[in-house]
Amino acid sequence: MNIFSALASQFRTMWRILLHTFTRAETVQYPEQKPYLAPRYRGRIVLTLDPDGDERCVACNLCAAACPPDCIALQQGTREDGRWYPEFFRINFSRCIMCGLCEEACPTNAIQLIPDFEMCEYDRSSMVYEKEHLMIDGPGKYHDYNFYRVAGMEIEGKAKGEAQNEAPPIDVRSLLP
């Protein structure tokens, strides 16, 4: 009896496969036909500007620390107006695994992953992107966020206590009993 049910199962399988003659292929004909990439797809990395058009990255190194294959390198510098910025910012895309941890770690929303994965190069060193290759001319996914307007750090044009939801600073020496 077992053998008959086994045989029937084989024939049923063959019939079911034969019916697939009339189903459409799932294949996406890639170079001509682009696959749908969700807006939050994790692809090529960009550095964004805040709504005022200033560099967002404060060179805190959190992304570099979070990066599992260690492919981010940067150097912190300070501008005259008191803002921190990366003197250079380098991502080695031949090592990047597009995990998005850098984006998660970034306190300023500067570093963002975008839906683009077409980064083929003949030369391996062309996979190393410098700051001018990474920088884009806009705020990316977060339109209103400006780190210096919510953080307490003092920069030119914004003294301590002037940030959003920030209380004026207290002179601790005046707190006498």
Partner: protein, 322 residues
Amino acid sequence: MSETMTIIFAISVMLAAVGGAAVLTWFERRLLGIWQDRYGPNRLGPGGILQVVADMLKLLTKHDWVPPFADRWVFIFAPTAIVVAMLLGFAVVPFGPGLHIIDVNIGLLFFIGMTSLAVYSVLLGGLASNNKYALLGGLRSAAQMVSYEVFMGLSLMGVVMLSGSFSMQDIVESQRDGWYCVSQSLGLFVFTIAAIAESHRLPFDLPEAEHELTAGFHTEYSGMKFAMFMLGEYLGLILISCMITTLFFGGWLAPFGATWLPPIVWFSLKTFIIICFFVLLRAAIPRPRYDQLMSLGWKVMLPLTLVNLVVTGAVALWMQGA
């Protein structure tokens, strides 16, 4: 046919068989693609047919390497054997009325003999490679083919009994009043399974079983020698399909008296459909375990064949008596 005609015909059959095998590599992949909801090779040329040329160029330009630890001459001989044996098998195929290379009175035996010779190719290839995977593949193929050989021959004896001849043309002629796929359906079933095992195609490709044995007996082969193995396998597929057509589906006889197509076209059409069926088997059925294969062969297929043999014999005798 005169002697020169026969030679010309033989050469054209050979070219057609080899060309057919080449096209089949592409056709099979496209058909598998359709059944697995994808496209298969569709880029090069119309429908991707030029993929055949690309594959051939690639195989021709690959490093033709004989591993230093291999048994050199046997290693080179093995892939040739399968192609030669399979091509010789085409000699007895009747493509149409009077359209055959030779029509010997032992045609069927000749065919069985030639397919058995192909076992040597796999066996020697596995042995000469001096590689454990290849040896395991060769070992498996030896056991598989020898055990399936037994009832592959026996399953055809029903056909021989009914037609009373080993000659292929006579067998076709004797199917004028009914194809043997009806009266010998059990024989057809067993022969199909044995034939798949014999040509070691999926789902019975245990000698190569790439998931367990990398590539089995042809692990060490590359370039043209590998291509020869592939050619032999596809030739085997075509040959087996030709044989099933001839023995069970009336060969070049037209179905339903539809004689408005020439016999050779009918023959090709039937063969083509059977090839598609083999591809369907490959698409649908997973590979059995090795011991399952063996027990299927000896415990199910062989008794089935014997029952078929006895019943056919009894019926044939009874018909004669009546």
